[in-house]
Symmetry: C2
Amino acid sequence: MKETFGEYIKLLRTKNGLTLTKLAAQLDLDAANLSKIENGKRDFDEKRLSKLAAIFELSAQELQDEYVSDRLAKHIYEMDCSSELLKVAEEKAAYRRTLKK
Amino acid sequence: MKETFGEYIKLLRTKNGLTLTKLAAQLDLDAANLSKIENGKRDFDEKRLSKLAAIFELSAQELQDEYVSDRLAKHIYEMDCSSELLKVAEEKAAYRRTLKK
DNA sequence: ATTTGACTTGTCAATCTTTGACAAAGATAT
DNA sequence: ATATCTTTGTCAAAGATTGACAAGTCAAAT
């Protein structure tokens, strides 16, 4: 079962023996705010994904996917949405794609 | 294939022979803003769902589902998210539910 | 027991986003 | 034409998010 994006960052950080302060500096962030991100109290800003990928030498695409699925998961969780509703939503998203053409 | 929530409102409105101005008044809204909602340029605010249900005598639960699935669809659409990623997101949402206990 | 370093939490102003309101301009019908 | 309905643009107000800093806890070392 997959972790949250915050937990994912924390794992990366600790596996690489970095402190909050050090990683935060590389991400151009306050250590306090990075802590909140790791603990799910704030969101990681998309504009820092490229820095994160560079620091840990990750595939930009995989990281992006990790990020996007986490954001979506957050929405699904917050909306308290059943699996059936999710299916409907997926169809409606497909419909929206047909509109924008 | 399902319509957007804005289109859904427009359908309800026209089927019942209401003008934007009349429906907007009942929803405590400006007609101009209701127009934007129907045309997908603004979001319908959740706090007005109960009024909408009352006006058209709809099941509150069904309307809520219509609304939630639309919002999620919008997110899915905006994130340009594949069906596989969506599955991952669903799992991650399940994981989040395990955390909050 | 004090210091040090790592992390967490609270707060608040600055910034970004969304909303409500109104004016003005297109449509459409009479 | 006029009248009514709808759409679009703009902008300040309200709301949400972020960055920054202070103050806190905790554990390990000395």
